[in-house]
Symmetry: C3
């Protein structure tokens, strides 16, 4: 359900670091927002170094945009950005000053996965149970 | 007015399939949200295969992010994501389990096109009429 | 705090034009939304020309997506998109008809930078003062 996009200059992170960061974001999201890790997507969008500016000058921020379903509590979402930002600095070595994490959201009914409208926060178990039944039934 | 961004691993779709998907998303959006097709943008953001993770492991999801103006009904937006997801599976052959469609929104007054603030949903005809007058007048 | 992403076909803008546009967006954002320019990020996401469609056909729009904290006034946000769109046409020479600017937003508490949750609009001075103290203290 959620999607995290990590945007940065090309070559900022090597493959091993990207894999470690993707795994850690997945673990954090799953724990904080109660979503099975199989539903967590992490993308890395690498831009040409000449395409990244801060303060109007070429720069090297690490920008992580996440998308979640509307309805998680403010405390939950703040915990999410805090833990993701901490993980980014710990795993990549990039200082916190250059790490920006932003979570956007839309109502669950504005999103679809596996052919079914997403459940509102708190309704995941029923939704997941139906997925399992559907899969079993189709075999 | 709307923008759809299809994100996936590089090489997932060939040119013909991308063109067919762009055309179909355009047709669906125009019909469901009452926007002339000339205002519908579809972008494909192809990432290195090593930059796409699901469940902390390299994966091949097809993620479609749309942006629309706030104020369309929930039913309309749910119809939109359902039809776009169906079209994605039908045209690309990627199973529904790997297709995720998410629609975000902002107030129309937070967006501008052709030098004019966008109209709220339902106000398109007056806005478009003014566009035509403006174009005619400038010739 | 804010992030602007300019999306277009590869090769639409040369390096000098990108630098000028990044600088101007930074100046505008800083003036309109009262954020020090050191916190304004501008990214250019260049797509293969075959990956950009308008009306279901290959096209060359210039699409600028901005993200700001929720709570700025509507008037402020409308001023922002108007000035950014004007600057894009003035600096790039791309006619207004092909320029689309969209501002999205999330609550400040859904975002973190420099290891600290962002301040709500209007609370920047206290947040920035604390940053300075923190930096001085750590030296």
């Amino acid at each position: 359900m959620p999607v995290y996009t990590v945007t940065m200059s090309r070559g900022t992170l090597n493959g091993e670091t990207k894999a470690a960061l993707a795994a850690e974001i997945t673990t954090i999201h799953s724990a904080v927002n109660h979503v099975p890790s199989t539903y967590v997507n992490v993308l890395f969008n690498e831009l040409a170094p000449s395409n990244v500016y801060t303060d109007g000058k070429p720069a090297h921020p690490l920008i992580i945009n996440g998308w979640v379903r509307t309805g998680h509590s403010d405390e939950q979402t703040t915990a999410l950005v805090t833990q993701v930002a901490d993980a980014a600095t710990r795993i990549t070595g990039i200082p916190a000053e250059r790490v920006l994490v932003i979570i956007g959201n839309s109502p669950a009914r504005f999103a679809i996965e596996g052919g079914r409208i997403l459940p509102d926060p708190g309704q995941e178990l029923a939704w997941l149970a139906a997925t399992t039944e559907q899969s079993s039934g189709s075999r």
